[in-house]
Symmetry: D4
Subunit: 247 residues, 8 copies
Amino acid sequence: MERSEIISLLERYGRGEVKLEAAVDELTSGGVEEMGFATLDTERFRRTGIPEVIYSEGKTPRQLAEITGRLYSKGLPVLATRATREKYEAVLEQVPGAVYHEQARAIVYRKEELPASEKYIAVVSAGTSDIPVSEEAAVTAEFLGSRVERIYDVGVAGIHRLFNRIDLIRNAAVVIVVAGMEGALASVVGGLVSRPVIAVPCSAGYGANFGGISALLAMLNSCAAGVSVVNIDNGFGAACQAHLINS
Amino acid sequence: MERSEIISLLERYGRGEVKLEAAVDELTSGGVEEMGFATLDTERFRRTGIPEVIYSEGKTPRQLAEITGRLYSKGLPVLATRATREKYEAVLEQVPGAVYHEQARAIVYRKEELPASEKYIAVVSAGTSDIPVSEEAAVTAEFLGSRVERIYDVGVAGIHRLFNRIDLIRNAAVVIVVAGMEGALASVVGGLVSRPVIAVPCSAGYGANFGGISALLAMLNSCAAGVSVVNIDNGFGAACQAHLINS
Amino acid sequence: MERSEIISLLERYGRGEVKLEAAVDELTSGGVEEMGFATLDTERFRRTGIPEVIYSEGKTPRQLAEITGRLYSKGLPVLATRATREKYEAVLEQVPGAVYHEQARAIVYRKEELPASEKYIAVVSAGTSDIPVSEEAAVTAEFLGSRVERIYDVGVAGIHRLFNRIDLIRNAAVVIVVAGMEGALASVVGGLVSRPVIAVPCSAGYGANFGGISALLAMLNSCAAGVSVVNIDNGFGAACQAHLINS
Amino acid sequence: MERSEIISLLERYGRGEVKLEAAVDELTSGGVEEMGFATLDTERFRRTGIPEVIYSEGKTPRQLAEITGRLYSKGLPVLATRATREKYEAVLEQVPGAVYHEQARAIVYRKEELPASEKYIAVVSAGTSDIPVSEEAAVTAEFLGSRVERIYDVGVAGIHRLFNRIDLIRNAAVVIVVAGMEGALASVVGGLVSRPVIAVPCSAGYGANFGGISALLAMLNSCAAGVSVVNIDNGFGAACQAHLINS
Amino acid sequence: MERSEIISLLERYGRGEVKLEAAVDELTSGGVEEMGFATLDTERFRRTGIPEVIYSEGKTPRQLAEITGRLYSKGLPVLATRATREKYEAVLEQVPGAVYHEQARAIVYRKEELPASEKYIAVVSAGTSDIPVSEEAAVTAEFLGSRVERIYDVGVAGIHRLFNRIDLIRNAAVVIVVAGMEGALASVVGGLVSRPVIAVPCSAGYGANFGGISALLAMLNSCAAGVSVVNIDNGFGAACQAHLINS
Amino acid sequence: MERSEIISLLERYGRGEVKLEAAVDELTSGGVEEMGFATLDTERFRRTGIPEVIYSEGKTPRQLAEITGRLYSKGLPVLATRATREKYEAVLEQVPGAVYHEQARAIVYRKEELPASEKYIAVVSAGTSDIPVSEEAAVTAEFLGSRVERIYDVGVAGIHRLFNRIDLIRNAAVVIVVAGMEGALASVVGGLVSRPVIAVPCSAGYGANFGGISALLAMLNSCAAGVSVVNIDNGFGAACQAHLINS
Amino acid sequence: MERSEIISLLERYGRGEVKLEAAVDELTSGGVEEMGFATLDTERFRRTGIPEVIYSEGKTPRQLAEITGRLYSKGLPVLATRATREKYEAVLEQVPGAVYHEQARAIVYRKEELPASEKYIAVVSAGTSDIPVSEEAAVTAEFLGSRVERIYDVGVAGIHRLFNRIDLIRNAAVVIVVAGMEGALASVVGGLVSRPVIAVPCSAGYGANFGGISALLAMLNSCAAGVSVVNIDNGFGAACQAHLINS
Amino acid sequence: MERSEIISLLERYGRGEVKLEAAVDELTSGGVEEMGFATLDTERFRRTGIPEVIYSEGKTPRQLAEITGRLYSKGLPVLATRATREKYEAVLEQVPGAVYHEQARAIVYRKEELPASEKYIAVVSAGTSDIPVSEEAAVTAEFLGSRVERIYDVGVAGIHRLFNRIDLIRNAAVVIVVAGMEGALASVVGGLVSRPVIAVPCSAGYGANFGGISALLAMLNSCAAGVSVVNIDNGFGAACQAHLINS
């Protein structure tokens, strides 16, 4: 609750328009929807610019359906990440019109189309193994309302593939770079563009990649300024920050 | 070299205005200043929006003075991070007017003042141990041309200190959060604002903080969307990205 | 065997009420129940305030049934943690009346109801993924005889959810905080209450959470005084200590 | 600010005893003392039962003297941990009567003596290398107002030393166990007493102790229920929780 | 090939009893049995006191049967560790009389019984989860020809169980201690006996036991002198060294 | 595009043999084959001496068949590593004549036979568990056009097996050593030969081998000069470098 | 206190030869010498075959002198490991005749010479950097009463140096192998001898040796049976176990 | 000793030209120079192509002077790595003409100049912090007899600096790439050249570079085939392998 809201409330209370108990309640409660096993944060969009999004792993299809159904019934948009097709079937019964993005493993429901935009987010990936995470980033950014351009499989083993498409990357408002293995692409892109670069390390690989640690450390130690990093495989988080920058 | 520049060069070459050898040279060379032990990247600002900045550790005072002197003589601004006062003395002889920021451990030289600005970067820190890194971020951002607001020592052990100053944080264009130990402040701020949050883990602490790993992992796993992370103690990198977002 | 018991034994032996061999046996043996593959510690409750509890993983249903049956036949209460429903079926044949707590994955048998109590343990969790561990803590504490209040899904991404219920947390005798990801909730709660806080890191998450290490390190480095930590996912251990504090 | 305080404030405001602006200020501010480089949390004791304590590392003698002087001038007690003798000299000028505990590396100032008490905290240590951390725990607990019994150098390599003093340990309200190397003492004590055990891993040792990780992991994996753990070498934190349990 | 053998060979060659080519072959070859996918070391027993033993993981049932069959046909004893029952079935067709030890996951074949012996190896384990590794140690030691005494489930959470059986442990020629979790039992036993203690860390557990690292580090840092350590879950290796000490 | 190619292009353009637009295209594009989900690097062989090779994990059988089919249709050789038999079936439909190497898990297609050669690569392995990785190395090297000699199961536990075959190793142009567990074989071979040794750590093993880290660290710390290392289980990479050295 | 001692005590008490209070004292106390900051374990030799030995790091010269003086005054032998020459000077004042072993960093005092012996311990080291740890092992073993043969600088980079001296190693009762870097020597020796091998990893080295972890892991994963391991740089511990085996 | 040498020896022995004892000695001894604290491997060059080189760390100036003096007196070349200037002074007294390379921290002595050569090794480094390691590589390679070309400070943050000099790199016989931080340069170079690339990770950096682990992991996971890796900061090892490839 912000200062201006408190001022307004106190004025109404001072004028007797609001009862003592109601004023206390409003001052001590917030945008919360109790569901027993979950406490929905229904004001998250107003507060952070990103609506409540559901991380599906560890939730049963039924739980996921209940939560998304509740959001749907309140007229809110729905995004569930890391969802299997089985969970999508369950959600679909509560949220007619929900769409499943196979590669991104994401369930999306949005009432209205978003207006076209000049500005866009470039999602750049190093190899074909990085596509699921790249797609999670791209689908999330589109869900949030940003335009996305995809530039996939342009890793440094054949760096001319990157130079072929460098203009599309340079003209983006913000760049997401998705890479596994040695994650070198983030530094190379960071050294070539004048826009913020958000790096997403990927877990794809084997041996001393240690589930994405090799790319994570490489990206954290990028010699290019202007590169920040999110969790391994966290396409969703990268898209959230990119969208906040883009808007 | 970008496509439009290549087109222009080829046209001039086609018209005989440029010799073959010169055209080849231009097509194969770039903005590079050879110094024997170093290869300055003099076009970095044009390419990435961030000028070449000097990381002072591992360089002798003499080397540092030479490099900064070279930048100065070309009329370029100078920022040297992680510099001791002894190195500053050496630089001062080559770069008259250079200033030393004690807490930030930074040497700064800039010819002209930057114009005032509505937009600003908020630098938020959890405790007094985080001040050197916070100041590195703040001084770097100011060097790059951004306005900065400092909100220090508002960690979650006394969370009301944060709420006291939340409006100043919420109105920033982008927020840098600097925290050591458990790094919780990044998530708490991330859950309260609608602007991008760049988290800087600090190495201050002992035992199982493992030189900043505890804060680093906490920030990478932030439950708040819209948070990205830079290297441990990397106030400089956070400021670069924040400035790119702010401008 | 404590000093007072040794004195009493020696006095009886001195009066000839106890034979030499029997006195030696009593002085050199203890509360032990040999079962071939297991050595039950039947005096653990008298010694530590916590009865022998069975960790089910790595035990076959038959082994589990045998051990719990032995405890049941001696009139002792039964708690088996990390048990599957299949193991519960096997136990039920030996321990009529045993109850299975699905979310907590716990088998519980207790003869008498525990008396009502003013004092209680607050179990606070950050997200829905933390519920299995939270329930293990809650069910264990109730089994041991403590009253429990559950406050779930109040993590720092929407910190007002926590403030909504802060009174219930502050009035507890001891607080258990269960959180995965960055584990920030433990520090935030620790900074708001004047009771001991026991933090339980959760393994739920992915990437750089490294199976709960991110939350574990965050909790060990809590900037709030008065916070201690148990093993990752160890709701059982947290409940044991909380019960000892509560009683 | 708690609900009852908000109710009282609103009532006073409703009766016109408080002005709108003042009511808003009170609703949005807290117990904070701004010092430029630090933001003192002067209500921490009322909120958490533990007053603001100063961690001296990374602070200059002058900074430490300023902060402790400010607390002293407000009539608050002073504890500065991890302090060198040099820092103590600086503090002494601002805080007459401050005492330096060499082994504990702690500066303490307290106006009045604390009343005698039946209940006490047992601080048990494994070896002579653990004494600095043990003393930090003991001195902190005494500063907070708890009585302490010290039982030092009773590690498991000669376990009869522990059994010799087991009664003193068993009768404590809460037990702090300080141990480095393999940290086995925590489990052994945990299996012998019916009071909460707080384990403090020590960094003393070499090689595969990895600065205390060996003891930390051992304590987190204790087979004895009722054991919780604090950060490596964190005698202070253990004492805080022990005091909250003891009081 | 040892010096005495070389002398003997040269003497025979000098007397013309051995041809040049045969002498060279003998000087350059060794006790090797080529099998295409494997190179059996048939002189290992003569050289190291331990015959060639087969580690079954990663080998197909057919490969295992071939190798064990080859050893059997040469009159050598057979031990295959980490074997499933399915692999045992395959081996049984090549090695009539082979026995499968379920808990130890070991296939054993030995022609003659070993003579009784005064000296024995004590295998001591902390909990029921440690039985598979303990049995691997016990069965291996018996296969090698040592007498074994088993003392199971006597971990430090109920340390009186250990004292009950301390005489049997103290009279052994060498002691193997098997423990997971915090591995404290190795130190406690090491402090009570005057014989070499070989510690085997177990992977059983969860969370911060990190697959046995907690016990491994604890055992490497044992405060009791005279304790050495083998790989996590390596009951086989512990038995080999124990047998060499015992014989 | 190399300098000589640029010169030639400019000359042709200067003579009017190439149009402006075509010259620009050629200067800004490269050997790239866009496939939507993949961007084939068709000039990789000309540039690096190693053709584009497909890493099969994470690709569906259909994707793999499409990519290999595309290479086949362009007359290029095909190597797909880490492929299952199921994926081979799919590939075979697009690439008639493709062969599946079971142990190496590799799909190979090559039009013409390679000429015989004096020079060869020695692939030396420590144990039978190392055969899959050794075969990946051997098959890859043969695919690239090198002759290979296999020396398997000659680890240091029976070091005479190695000395038996040392001549074959010493006469190689380059030696690949594949070993798991403690990886000692690389150092021993490195100390005996005067050719480059490429060490491949294997993940086979258990406990403190940590998925191959033990062998990886051992090989990186080899006391023998002239040893370099590739990723854990990366037989493919070792073969590539060995082939470049051999040719 | 052992069973036979308890029986004897009870019989004396039953005959009235011992008073009740004295019997209780004896039953509840042990061989302990209280020194305030230390609790000497004066019966350790009788119990474990190894007398109390002093680890000097973290102790002041004065503390060390006091402890060793106390042992000396009781006629006990003195060994202080990891001691500087400065500490030796302090000890010498309390323990006339104490000797300082520079390379081993050990202070030794022993009244009588030990008798000559056929049996001996071989201490084998890989390189010159391993000499301090090797000497700690050798000096400790000699202090305990074992004969020692030193075989230094015979690492696998020049493996013929080892074969030159293999007979001296093979004839030992037990072998200690000290090696840093990749620690391969332990496995090579383990594969050549029929006596127990105790491996000591050394911290000497740089980079990915991680302070001895490379050698530690290599030794734990030794492919040779019969090898066990002690802590990094723990020559003392290896000597203790070797002496127990040797005697 | 090789087969041909054994044949020759046996023939001479058969003809009575060699005595039995001498033949046995020769068959059982090797190229070893005993120095008490060190065992020089004087045949290392003949065996491995690399002469015995001295690692100076952990050796006193006097020890270093003795060892290098011994090599000098036998007419052998001398290279001592990681040497301080102080150690050089000591060496100079024993080895007149020895030269000290400040940046490489190497002492070099070589009698004759090496002949000029067409083939060369390219040493490529990413930044100025990598120069000490790069120089260690360059000086070592030159000592061994290879020609070296240095291409320094061409990291990926300004990738055009690399393209400027790509021809010099492409024409090398083998390429050494030295890089810290994210180590991306190795992959980029590996994707551009058709010669073997040996990557050297550097420890320069801070925070999550973990002393060079970030670059080490990145290089091990290089997406470019044909890249192998040596230990962190091991310029010496890279040069040895490069020289073996080059010659």
